[in-house]
């Protein structure tokens, strides 16, 4: 069985009298240790997939199995537990707590996990060993995103989910972040799922899942992923 297994997953939103089907019966698998990219245009349903995969949202139909556990039928509390121990999130807008220093932001996540990395080490591993005690407002966007990644990694998650991590960053910084994510995936054997609308990023992935209008239109395994440095957009 694959590490991530989506089977006939549906997600519908009711807007007054209209029902929008955001995820329309999709199925895909991702293997352990893969760097997977879900790519699609705005409104293709990729964020919904990520939210469902991350336990932030639940599906209406279908089954989702992550690491052998069916998460599609979990209640709110179990979903929180799932997020807590299994999932690391990296957001487009970093979502750091502005009132906490870099280290404290990481600690915020690590303190609730039994098995976690040391906050300082996590930050060092993303190259921020010098900025432990800076507040988010004192950090650049790239640095903030690194903190965000460190925060996600500190929990030692089974799955690292990234939602347009480069969306708010400039080209070079974006590349650095992608490099960091790819390196993490390679060096730690972390399964990374990244969603983006940017087709240019796809060559760096081990697996490319394309979405359109709530459906998966292709799920390709890239046997020879390109190094981030060689990608341009």
């Amino acid at each position: 069985m694959s590490f991530v297994d989506f089977k006939n997953v549906y997600k519908r939103y009711k807007m007054g009298e209209v029902t929008i089907t955001a995820v329309d019966g999709i199925s895909f698998e991702i293997e352990k240790g893969e760097f997977a990219v879900i790519v699609g245009n705005s409104g293709a349903g990729k964020t919904t997939v990520l939210n469902i995969l991350g336990g932030m949202d639940s599906c209406d139909e279908g089954t989702i199995v992550v690491g052998g556990n069916d998460i599609s039928r979990l209640d709110e509390h179990d979903l929180a537990t799932y997020r807590r121990y299994d999932i690391g999130f990296v957001f487009q807008f970093y979502n750091l707590v502005p009132n906490l220093t870099a280290k404290e932001n990481v600690e915020l996540a690590s303190q609730i996990c039994k098995d976690h990395k040391d906050a300082s080490e996590a930050l060092e591993s993303v190259g921020l060993g010098e900025r432990l005690h800076n507040f988010p407002s004192q950090l650049s966007g790239g640095e903030q995103q690194r903190v965000s990644i460190a925060r996600a990694l500190a929990k030692k998650p089974k799955l690292l989910l990234c939602d347009e991590p480069t969306g708010a960053l400039d080209y070079n910084t974006g590349k650095q972040i992608l490099k960091l994510l790819q390196d993490t995936c390679r060096s730690e054997g972390m399964t990374v799922v990244l969603i983006t609308h940017n087709q240019a990023i796809t060559p760096m992935a081990d697996r490319i899942i394309r979405m359109k209008s709530g459906k998966v239109i292709s799920n390709i395994v890239n046997e020879s992923p390109t190094d981030v440095d060689l990608i341009e957009w």
Binding site: F93, P98, N99
Partner: protein, 1218 residues
């Protein structure tokens, strides 16, 4: 504004309806409470004004020492500024019943063609009296519920000394109606000079029921009142006051007419009556003295006869007495003789006993001594014997020891003897013989030799010579051989001699040694022997001596025994003699006694006869005298009655001389001033309290509104970008905020006005009897409240909006950067910071991050806590009064009101009567009198105060307690000053050591305040009887008894009450349990106010906390979503958010408790009514309750918010930047 904007606004409202409603509610609460409370005072004033105006409350009341005539009224009407005037009657009488309550009966002034009604009563039921014998009773104080129209109302026939029938036509009236009078707005009815002094109620009867031909009072209406003029103000008071001189002057003028019209005739009548009485008196006096003379003569004769008989009897009695005395003396002598003899015998016996004892002791002593001596001797002998034995043993030992030596010695001696013997007898003779022989040979040789030698010399021939020589040689050889024999023998001799010497020496040496060795033991033995010998000698002599002593001692003892035996014999003889003398003497005395008894019997008979005759005579005399006395008393009584009547009339006339008019204004009406004061006080409370409330509300509105507009930042940017004008955009928010404010104001004012004045007015209704409240809206205050509401919502919205609008649309579209984190001061103290755990650090930093919210929350919560605490504190303060006043200060159970007259002696008798009633534990006399007091300068005045003079007996400490409020230290009532109750001291503005001037019965007295005592109900100036005497120049007339019962039960109370009223000197009894009930009624009114307070404060707390928490969550929604995504459970997320809330709430509660103390103190001081002081103490429970309630409200809000936090959608919140 376009329709889409309108739509947007309405949608906005419906989307944020919780916020909209909460703003509206805060506004409603703040404005409603503010205006509602503020409306109380003006509404009450307005109502009172209307009441006074519509019922034509008099402006001035005139009293006179002699009453008024119609002519007086005419003259008063003519004075300037007088609108109208009318005269009426009144009198104070005692209602029938046990309580001795006083009712003021008066005739009212009705409207007719040339007269307006004054003090028009409000008819509650029935009608006013139309003819004689009808009465309209007051509505309020006549609370015996079963009385109704048609019943008969009775009054006591006497008021003090006066008969009611002298004043009124009847003592029975038919109740025709129930009324209420503008003269009495409170439940006070004023005071009077009869009975207990307090008027209990009033009643209106017809003018025709009054017997007096002069009116009691004149009511005057002035130009200053009436129509639409306001009278509850200082201007009116001073304008009316200014009229006093003209009335006083008129009074003086009218006094002259009074003398002419009235007084002179009365005086003449009185003089005549006196003259008649005097002549009657003379006549009666003469008759009485004649009768008296006769009785005196009879008495004289009787006295003489009695005296003669008495003398005879006395002589006989004297003889008997002498005889008795002699016998008595005989007995005495006899007894003393016997006693003496017995005493002597006793002494002799004692001596004998003593001698015997002595002898016995001497004998035993002697025996002991002898025994002791013998023992000693025996001991010595035993010692001697043992010594002797020891000595013998020693001698034997010594001998044994020296035996060997002596044996050796004797061997040596034998040896020596042998040697000597051998030498002398054998060796010596033998040797000497040999020597002798040899010597002779030798001598022959020598002679041969000599001759040979000569031959030789002489011989010339050699041969011869040779021959001779040879011969010489032979001789020489023979010579030497002989010589050696001699030598040998000599040697032998010598040796023998030596041998002897040697033996001798050995013997000598041995002997010496022996002697040396034996000399010391021998000497010791000799010594011991000597000692033993001397001891033996001593023992022997001792024994001889002892024998001697023993013999002598025994002789002495025998002699002593002999002596004692002789004494014994003598005593026995004496005893026998004494016994015989005793018998003899007694017989003689007994004979004399029998004789005397006979004489006595005779005397007794004589005396009886005498008494009988004497009594008969006395009886006759007494009868005569009694008849005289009764006749005299009768005559005197008649005369005295007549005199008293004349005197009283004269006194009354005297009072009537120099008549004076007294001037009173509305301010003198009971309750009039205190109503004004109370409304002023409510206004005072209504200033701080709701203002505070409004302030908190406004602050919360402000925060909420600011937040609301800031949240709409993007929208403002979008609209602006779309080209909407600033005005149009602003209008949206103005509409939103103004809508909330307007709705809140309308709601608040409506509810506030409809409820609060009514509730509080009704609360005061327990103390005041007014008409239904007419609520008037205090325009200025309402406007102020509305302005505050709009400023804190609309203006704030406008300002915030304006601030946003100043930015470029583009920047507006971008989210406002969240407040950046920064280090807080606490982080610079690593000592503390390093010790805090992660969440505490986050909380600390968050609290500091949103300072505005921090202060808003703390202020909001503090405000609510303070309001709640004030509410509970007020309840404590008020209810503490009952406990402290009736539990600790007053510990008496009842007061007994005495009739005014009577001496101290009589009063004490009543006191004893009460004490011995069987229900009373302790009781004390006291005086209470209504006075008025002021401070030294006269700036502060107090009319509602009593002079209290406790007699100060032992019982006092059971009944009433004076003490300092804060320290609870008891205060002693001394003679050098007065104790003032605390509230009175505050009202008068005096302290310990200051002077108080008080007025009693129109006289002024000055006294120093020596102490201030804790007291909550009533004002008292307390002085000791001694102090009173110094002030008044006379002893206090006690008019009350306070008493403590052994057991307070309803049954005991009614029994004791009945028993007391059986006593003619007791006017009334009042039990304190009744007072407690009355007081509880009075303070119940304030409970309502407090409930309103607590409810409002609670509502405010909920709304404030809800709003602030709401804002908190709204501001941090992204943060909350983030931590939810990180896997925080709902509980953990809430804890993360609430930790701050809890800390802020705690800060708020703590500062609120402090603030509450201040607010409570302020409110307490402002709401105190004249007579009552509230306790300043807030009970610990109230603090706990206020804190807990606030905490509960906070918890409630947090509970509601839990769902809100739970509902936060992570996906939505994180989708993009807002």
């Amino acid at each position: 504004m376009t329709s889409s904007l309108w739509k947007n606004v309405l949608k906005d409202i419906s989307k944020t309806k919780a916020r909209f409603i909460s703003i509206m509610l805060i506004v409603a609460l703040g404005v409603g409470f503010f205006t509602g409370i503020k409306a109380v005072s003006p509404s009450m004033n307005h109502t009172a004004e209307n009441y006074y105006r519509n019922n034509d409350l008099m402006d001035i009341r005139l009293l006179s020492t002699v009453g008024f005539s119609d002519k007086d009224v005419e003259e008063v009407k003519k004075l300037p500024h007088v609108r109208d005037a009318a005269a009426s009657y009144y009198t104070d009488v005692i209602m029938e019943g046990d309580a001795g309550q006083i009712i003021r009966l008066y005739s009212d002034i009705r409207e007719n063609e040339n007269q307006t009604a004054i003090n028009k009563p409000l008819i509650k039921e029935g009608r006013l009296p139309e003819k004689k014998g009808e009465i309209a009773l007051e509505n309020a104080n006549f609370n015996s519920g079963n009385s109704k129209i048609g019943d008969t109302f009775r009054i006591e026939p006497k008021v003090g000394e006066t008969d009611v029938e002298d004043i009124l036509e009847s003592t029975e009236y038919t109740v025709v109606g129930f009324v209420q009078s503008p003269l009495y707005v409170s439940f006070e009815r004023g005071t009077t000079n009869v009975g207990s002094g307090d008027i209990h109620m009033f009643g209106i009867i017809s003018e025709d029921d009054f017997k007096s031909d002069r009116y009691s009072q004149i009511y005057v209406l002035t130009d200053y009142s009436g129509d639409s003029k306001d009278t509850i103000n200082k201007e009116f008071d001073s304008a009316v006051e200014a009229l006093e001189p003209q009335f006083k002057n008129l009074g003086l003028e009218r006094a002259k007419y009074f003398d002419v019209e009235y007084l002179n005739d009365a005086k003449k009548d009185l003089e005549e009556a006196q003259k008649e009485l005097d002549s009657e008196k003379d006549k009666a006096g003469r008759e009485l003295s004649e009768a008296f003379e006769k009785i005196n003569d009879g008495q004289k004769e009787y006295d003489e006869k009695i005296a003669g008989a008495k003398e005879t009897l006395d002589n006989a009695e004297k003889d008997i007495k002498n005889g008795e005395e002699e016998i008595k003396k005989g007995w005495e002598d006899y007894n003393s003789g016997i006693a003496e003899g017995e005493k002597q015998l006793e002494t002799a016996r004692e001596l004998l006993k003593e001698g015997q004892a002595q002898l016995k002791s001497s004998r035993s002593e002697f025996n002991t001594k002898i025994r002791e001596a013998e023992k000693q001797l025996n001991e010595a002998e035993r010692e001697y014997n043992s010594g002797l034995a020891e000595y013998n043993r020693a001698v034997t030992d010594f001998k044994t020891q020296t035996l060997t030596a002596r044996l050796a010695l004797s061997a040596l001696k034998t040896n020596y003897d042998n040697a000597l013997n051998k030498y002398e007898n054998i060796t010596k003779p033998a040797c000497e013989a040999i020597i002798g022989e040899t010597q002779r040979t030798l001598d022959e040789i020598n002679a041969e030799l000599d001759s040979l030698k000569e031959q030789y010399e002489n011989s010339e021939s050699e041969t011869e010579k040779l021959y001779i020589q040879a011969q010489i040689d032979i001789y020489e050889t023979r010579k030497s051989a002989n010589q050696s024999i001699i030598d040998r023998e000599n040697k032998r001799l010598e040796d023998g001699k030596n041998e002897v010497d040697e033996a001798k020496k050995a013997l000598d040496e041995a002997t010496e040694e022996y002697n040396k060795q034996t000399a010391e033991p021998q000497r010791q033995l000799d010594e011991a022997k000597e000692q033993l010998d001397s001891a033996k000698a001593q023992i022997d002599s001792g024994r001889a001596e002892l024998q001697e002593q023993k013999a002598a001692g025994e002789d002495q003892l025998a002699a002593a025994q002999q002596q004692l035996n002789e004494s014994q014999a003598a005593i026995t003889a004496a005893q026998t003699e004494l016994s015989s003398r005793k018998t003899e003497g007694r017989q003689k005395l007994k004979d004399s006694e029998a004789e005397l008894e006979k004489a006595k019997e005779e005397l007794k008979k004589g005396k009886e006869e005498f008494e009988k005759q004497k009594a008969e005579g006395q009886q006759k005399l007494d009868d005569a005298r009694e008849e005289y006395e009764s006749k005299k008393l009768e005559a005197e009584g008649k005369l005295e009655d007549a005199q008293a009547k004349i005197d009283k009339a004269a006194e009354t006339l005297e009072d009537l001389e120099n008549p004076e008019w007294y001037f009173f204004t509305r301010l003198d009406n009971p309750g009039y001033q205190s109503l004004i004061d109370d409304t002023t006080r409510i206004d005072a409370v209504a200033t701080v309290f709701p203002l505070f409330f409004l302030l908190v509300a406004a602050l919360v509105c402000l925060t909420t509104m600011t937040r609301h507009v800031e949240e709409k930042r993007t929208e403002i940017g979008t609209l602006k970008a779309l080209g909407y004008s600033n005005g149009a955009i602003k209008t949206q928010y103005i509409f939103y905020s103004a809508g909330a404010a307007l709705l809140g104001c309308v709601l608040g004012i409506a509810i506030g006005m409809l409820t609060l004045p009514k509730v509080i007015y009704n609360a005061y209704g327990i103390m005041y009897e007014l008409i239904d409240l007419e609520v008037i809206v205090p325009v200025k205050i309402t406007i102020l409240g509305v302005i505050a509401a709009f400023v804190s919502t609309t203006l704030v919205a406008l300002y915030t909006c304006q601030k946003s609008l100043r930015e470029k649309p583009a920047s507006l579209m971008r989210p406002k950067a969240p407040k950046i984190g920064r280090r807080i001061l606490l982080e610079k103290i690593p000592f503390i910071w390093d010790r805090m755990n992660f969440t505490s650090k986050v909380t600390a930093r968050n609290i500091m991050r949103y300072k505005v919210r921090f202060f808003m929350t703390v202020i909001g919560v503090a405000g609510c806590t303070a309001l709640i605490l004030t509410g509970f504190g007020l309840k404590n303060s008020i209810s503490a009064i009952t406990d402290v006043q009736f539990g600790e200060i007053y510990t008496y159970d009842l007061t007994v009101i005495l009739n005014e007259e009577g001496t101290l002696h009589q009063k004490t008798a009543v006191l004893d009567y009460v004490k011995n009633s069987g229900f009373v534990e302790s009781a004390m006399l006291e005086r209470q009198a209504s006075i008025s007091a002021s401070n030294e300068k006269g700036t502060n005045k107090l009319d509602d105060i009593y002079l209290y003079v406790p007699q100060g007996s032992e019982d006092m400490k059971d009944l009433i307690h004076f003490r300092e409020r804060k320290t609870k230290i008891p205060i002693e009532l001394t003679d050098d000053g007065a104790i003032l109750t605390e509230k009175a001291a505050n009202s008068l503005g005096v302290d310990v050591g200051d002077t108080v001037i008080f007025e009693d019965d129109h006289k002024k007295y000055t006294v120093t305040v020596s102490n201030i005592t804790e007291n909550y109900i009533g004002n008292y100036l307390i002085v000791s009887p001694e102090c009173y005497r110094e002030l008044y120049g006379k002893a206090p007339l006690f008019n009350m008894i306070m008493a403590k019962m052994t057991e307070v039960t309803d049954e005991n109370e009614s029994k004791l009450g009945a028993k007391c009223l059986d006593n003619d000197d007791i006017a009334a009894v009042s039990f304190i349990s009744g007072s407690i009930d009355n007081f509880l009624d009075t303070i119940k009114s304030l409970d309502t106010v407090i409930l309103v307070l607590i409810i409002c404060a609670g509502l405010l707390a909920v709304v404030v906390l809800y709003n602030l928490t709401n804002i908190n969550i709204a501001e941090r929604v992204r943060e909350i979503a983030t931590i939810k995504v990180l896997g925080f459970y709902n509980g953990e997320t809430c804890a993360f958010v609430y930790r701050e809330n809890i800390i802020l709430t705690l800060c708020g509660i703590i500062s609120g408790l402090g603030l509450g103390i201040i607010l409570h103190r302020f409110v307490i001081i402002t709401i105190e009514i004249n007579k009552t002081m509230f306790s300043r103490t807030i009970e610990p429970e109230s603090f706990i309750l206020a804190a807990v309630l606030t905490a509960v409200f906070a918890a409630l809000v947090n509970f509601i918010m839990y769902f809100k936090i739970k509902k936060i959608d992570m996906v939505e919140s994180l989708k993009s930047i807002e």
